[in-house]
Assembly symmetry: C3
């Protein structure tokens, strides 16, 4: 289909798909639903964007971290599914922002990921349900952690399976 | 069916269905499952109940905020589904309470939403799985944020679709 | 099948299945998916392991609390399903660690639960998607709270239902 082509058209490069940092899998598929583990803002060199929004980093850095996290999620989807073209739609995004108590713009931060998904999958299929919250600490001190549920396309083979 | 009638019987008025505060949809339906985005305690005038439990507001205010959030979730369900009567049951509620570290009665706060759902959908279908946690910050400083998954009734048309 | 036998082989004893601490059910089954409410580190005497990691307790205590929480989740599954042998696989685990801002090893803590599931359900079916985060407060001051989604085996009767 179209999402791999769209990614290329946008000039986006995915980081290497992240390896699990614990006893879990990055992606589990049950029927036509794909469950993505919590992802972080993984850079091509394997490091993570770190820092608490409102203490070490600002809102713009949080937004950039959320977008980078979205790219890592796409890398996991591509590796696990073979191609982004198997995606039907974004169902749900859960975005957790490493925040001080005084920072309350978590939706604007998580938009970094959500706008990426809307660019790649379109304004209909790329925009799902969402929650955005502030949390006191994230693994390795990373700035955001985002998990998601995607619906997959029902192919002829899968429908018959 | 019965849930719209029950709402009227209880004398409950729903606030206007909330508009998204970011790049997401309030409700996504996949098959017979409805995923609700994180909702806040939206008042009829469009403002939110704000304040951290244990700092600016107390447990009773938290409970009231959770109930108000539940009403906003019902408003989203009605607008998205056409009628609350399309609901089969509450599957899962995830309740996040804006809390200081010393406040540990999150279940009593989130009961404000859960008791509303039990009143409207009944003690069997209105009571689902649930988690309740304390978080350091929520969007706009609101007191609670709650997301949920509902199962929808399988109608003749949907079953054939 | 095999999971009850495996539990016995491992010499594991489950605590009594936890009673809800609010208006919710510990387990909801929809189709072949089982949704577990947030569970805590319940001891056989009904008390919970409490304390914030980095303030009152250390990482090893967090790990032990996550393992104990996993045992409580298995107790809920057995009581709700009749037998652990009805489980097909772990789909998703969401682990929340009562943490100070400086503690960032949440994945190592939640491994206490994930390694238990891998021992009982095996390295393929027992390892699902996962998120691990730090939160400012949990109900009753408990050290971890973990919720999960499991896939259930499709039996002849269920497949025909």
């Amino acid at each position: 289909m179209r999402y791999e082509a769209r990614l290329q058209e946008l000039g986006l490069t995915l980081p290497p798909a992240p390896k699990p940092a614990g006893v879990y899998r990055p992606l589990i598929v049950v029927g036509h639903m794909a469950y993505l583990s919590g992802h972080g803002p993984l850079l091509p060199d394997g490091s993570l964007l770190v820092g608490c929004v409102g203490r070490e980093v600002d809102q713009a850095a949080g937004y950039a971290a959320a977008r980078q996290t979205g790219l890592a999620m796409l890398a996991t989807l591509r590796r696990g599914l073979g191609s982004l073209d198997r995606v039907e739609r974004v169902v749900k995004v859960f975005g957790m922002v490493n925040s001080v108590a005084e920072f309350t713009q978590q939706p604007a931060v998580i938009n970094g990921c959500s706008e990426l998904f809307a660019e790649v999958f379109g304004s209909e299929n790329g925009v799902g349900a969402r929650s955005a919250i502030g949390v006191v600490s994230l693994p390795g001190g990373m700035t955001v952690e985002i998990e998601a549920v995607f619906e997959l396309r029902v192919t002829g083979a899968a429908a018959a399976g």
